[in-house]
């Protein structure tokens, strides 16, 4: 089957659909009319609370059969009215993969998990369906693994396979990028593209990231305040960059960059963008600016600054289920100095988290030494070392121990009898803009607020070394920019900040030093600008530079742009009339 013209008729059709959750004060969906054609690849976009997830839950009947609120209008899926049908029946037409897909896995092994649906429905060909679904997403080799042994990306593929085993016509995937690292997210999207192209499965994804929308979706459905604003082919949709930005979906960097320098057209990829820029350069529409001397260069790195943390020939590892020792960090030496903004990058399992926990003194190394502020971590308890280094876990909920954000922030300084704890806590809460939410339980906050709350917990510990594990993971773009701005602001309080991340925007915009880890060793210790120009280091560590940097590489710009502003500075201001 080719991806050309889809067979006739919409696979999903909602007419005058409204829905209100039981007990809610207003409608979550209001008067929605949506048609999704068979074989389409739809990205549903929109701000938080725009009703994206609720809309998608009407497709498989969870609304109104599981969430029995006030339901009006009609949803037809594969020609069947969902009101007349049931969740069980609809699950053979629509498969749903959740944002927190880990909780969707209910069986111990991968094969059992995938077979769960077909076996429950008593399908005689359950074994073939299981094998087929495993093959379709390319995870046959994982069939006998336990689900808790899987990486995030693998677990997501298992969740996908488990809904595919029911041979649905439509697959809904809720924010795959949120919980996965970029390489895994790309993998998921590639698989979804295969399913869409080779098996004719209609794919609906909920997505915040315009880059993924541009690269994979065929059409874009913009939701706002419980109703669709429009549903357009992707190129047309991305052309409305301003409107998307207003709904919390900033344009992809290449779209933004080209607009800044006055190149017309909506590039869907870096290659597209390069072609457009070259054409306009040849046509004289844009021209390169004269080489500038004032391009911000990376700060000089004098070696005599105070060392905040020193690791010497450190080796570490953990026991696995079989009892063997799995090495994680291998003969690693590094010195972190005052004023460093360190980004720790590398694929999953490269040892980023372990290294941070060793630096924070939570673990002590099996081999070698770690010195924190001049103190060997072996000589003090973790509870004492936390006065020098604070480690913020990847999942913010794991840092919430108390019933309110205020109590959580105060826990550390109050226990250490810091004078005037209340004033300190107030000041910190104000700084992360959480004063008005201070008395709420951290778990009830939004993703961005949760991150800021954990940052407040870290700041209240007043450490010399602050270590953050994936602080921008699962955040939408504006919350992410918020967190990056706050990190940039920390220099006055924190001597040295280390961030383990997959987010290359964060690396490009914030870091002054990048440590690339691979197989438990530091394979590169450099600046972001130098790193992004070295494909030999990037590829094995599964690193992909930000789009605008890729475009700079493609066009041979020097110095390499790390932000859209730096990119625009390479071009002379657009002559009047070039902007349309």
């Amino acid at each position: 089957m080719s991806g050309g013209i889809p067979p006739a008729g919409p696979v999903i059709e909602a007419t005058a659909l409204s829905f209100r959750y039981p007990g809610a004060g207003s409608d979550t969906l209001r008067d929605v009319d949506v048609r999704i054609e068979r074989g389409d690849f739809v990205a549903v976009v929109g701000g938080n609370g725009s009703g994206k997830t609720t809309l998608c839950k009407t497709f498989n009947g969870l609304v109104p059969h599981y969430w029995s609120g006030e339901f009006a209008g009609e949803v037809r899926v594969g020609g069947v009215d969902t009101w007349e049908s049931s969740v069980a029946e609809l699950s053979s037409v629509v498969g749903y993969v959740y944002q927190d897909f880990q909780n969707q896995l209910v069986r111990p092994t991968v094969r059992d998990e995938v077979a769960f649906g077909p076996v429950n429905f008593g399908l005689a060909d359950h074994a073939e369906r299981t094998a087929e679904a495993l093959r379709m997403v390319g995870i046959e080799h994982l069939a006998d693994r336990f689900v808790w042994q899987l990486s995030g990306g693998q677990a997501h593929l298992v969740a996908l396979a488990s809904v595919l085993a029911l041979r649905p016509e439509v697959v809904v995937v809720d924010e795959p990028v949120a919980e996965l690292d970029p390489a895994a997210a790309v993998e998921i999207y590639e698989r979804l593209t295969d399913l869409n192209r080779d098996h004719g499965i209609t794919v609906v994804t909920i997505e915040h990231h315009a880059e993924f929308v541009a690269r994979y979706a065929r059409s874009v459905l913009l939701m706002s305040d419980g109703a669709p604003v429009w549903h357009l082919p992707t190129a047309q949709a991305l052309g409305r960059a301003g409107e998307l930005a207003r709904h919390g979906i900033p344009a992809p960097q290449v779209v933004d960059g080209l607009r800044r320098i006055g190149v017309t057209g909506v590039p869907l990829s870096v290659a597209d963008a390069a072609t457009l820029v070259r054409a306009d350069q040849d046509g004289g529409v844009v021209r390169r600016a004269a080489p500038r001397a004032d391009v911000p260069d990376d700060p000089a790195r004098e070696p005599d600054r105070r060392a905040v943390a020193v690791a010497r020939e450190v080796g570490h590892g953990f026991r696995d289920v079989g009892g063997g020792l799995r090495p994680v960090i291998d003969d690693l030496s590094v010195t972190l100095r005052e004023g460093d903004r360190v980004a720790l990058v590398g694929g999953n399992g490269a040892g980023k988290t372990t290294l941070m926990r060793l630096l924070a003194g939570i673990h002590v190394p099996r081999v070698g030494t770690v010195e924190l502020d001049g103190v060997d971590t072996r000589t003090q308890r973790a509870g004492r070392l936390s006065e020098r280094a604070a480690y913020l876990a990847q999942q913010p909920e794991r840092m919430f121990l108390k019933a309110s954000v205020r109590e959580d922030v105060a826990l550390f300084p109050a226990g250490r009898h810091v004078p005037d704890v209340d004033a300190l806590v107030d000041r910190i809460l104000d700084r992360v803009r959480l004063t008005e939410h201070a008395d709420r339980d951290g778990r009830t906050l939004s993703g961005g607020q949760q991150r800021r709350a954990t940052l407040a917990i870290g700041l209240a510990m007043r450490p010399a070394l602050l270590l953050l594990d994936e602080p921008t993971a699962s955040l939408d773009v504006s919350s992410r920019d918020d967190v990056i701005a706050m990190l940039a602001d920390l220099a006055e309080d924190i001597a040295c900040t280390v961030v383990a991340t997959h987010d290359m925007h964060l690396v490009a915009e914030w870091a002054t030093r990048v440590l690339v880890l691979d197989g438990g060793r530091v394979v590169a210790d450099t600046t972001p600008r130098v790193l992004f120009a070295e494909p030999d280091v990037l590829a094995p560590a599964h690193l992909v530079p930000p789009q605008i940097t890729q475009l700079g590489l493609e066009l041979g710009l020097d110095p390499l742009p790390l932000t859209v502003e730096e990119f625009a500075a390479h071009y002379a201001p657009a002559p009047l009339g070039a902007l349309t």
Partner: protein, 276 residues
């Protein structure tokens, strides 16, 4: 103060790995390869046997039989350690209780009989449940006409176990790092002990809330994948239990065990010892 080192045993991580090894019978062993219904049958045989006699010789022989079964099932150190500690405390308690309440050796012996019976039961439980991974146990329960919800709860409970242990470890670590440690250890470390007990109790609040939040997705996903449907429609059950095979090996193990139990009774009848 002594230097810190990485602990490989008796750490939370170790407990997690041990639980996983125990639950999923990764150590193998005689019973792991058997039909789960046969294992349950074997367990019932061993569990009932000690309650039909007051003969201490028979009980001792059954205890030895139980110990052999535990060895054959390759029970791990954590569970076995807990068993030994439990039995040890039980004996100390018996001795103390007997002395305090004015009893003498005969009282201890009287109570010893019950302890021995419970000991045989525990050994059999260890051997059987270490050998049954949750899937097998759940399938066997289905085959024995338990309600599907019970069978599922067994396997889902095991699925949640590593998650809960991990959640617990994280929360305790959070407290360890952020809660001020006690000023000193106190006499016999009582301050440290109180500190840890308090942390353990306080850990439950965040664990419950975090878990409750994630269960919502689980319940929706179960619904969408026919879990409720399977409780009404019998075909799913037929497929699940269709893979169970009662083979010659199962029959042999059951026969040998029955014979061994009979031997225990024979030994008891030959050299009987009764209390007081």
């Amino acid at each position: 103060m002594s230097l810190r080192t990485q602990h490989d045993v008796l750490s939370v991580e170790w407990i997690k790995l041990e639980l996983i090894r125990t639950a999923y019978s990764t150590r193998g062993g005689l019973f792991a390869a058997m039909d789960p219904r046969a294992v349950i049958g074997w367990y019932l045989l061993m569990a009932v046997a000690p309650w039909l006699t007051h003969n201490l010789t028979t009980l001792a022989a059954l205890f030895v039989l139980g110990a052999v079964a535990v060895a054959l099932a390759r029970v791990g150190p954590l569970v076995l350690g807990l068993f030994v500690i439990g039995l040890g405390f039980e004996l100390i308690y018996l001795a103390l209780a007997a002395t305090l309440f004015g009893g003498d050796l005969t009282t201890v012996v009287a109570l010893l009989e019950v302890t021995a019976k419970l000991g045989v039961l525990s050994l059999a439980s260890l051997a059987a449940f270490v050998s049954l991974d949750p899937e097998k146990l759940s399938d066997a329960l289905l085959a024995l006409r338990f309600p599907p919800a019970v069978a599922f709860a067994v396997s889902y409970g095991y699925r949640m176990m590593p998650i809960l242990v991990e959640e617990f470890a994280t929360v305790v670590e959070g407290y360890r790092l952020r809660q001020a440690p006690p000023a000193g250890r106190g006499l016999l470390g009582w301050r440290a002990l109180v500190h840890w007990v308090l942390i353990t109790i306080r850990a439950f609040y965040p664990i419950f809330l975090n878990t409750a939040k994630s269960v919502r997705t689980t319940v929706e996903a179960l619904e969408a994948r026919g879990f409720t449907f399977a409780t009404i429609d019998p075909r799913g059950r037929a497929i699940r239990i269709g893979s169970l095979r009662f083979g010659p090996r199962d029959a042999a193990v059951l026969a040998v065990t029955a014979l061994a139990v009979a031997c225990c009774y024979l030994v008891g009848a030959t050299w009987p010892v009764y209390r007081g």
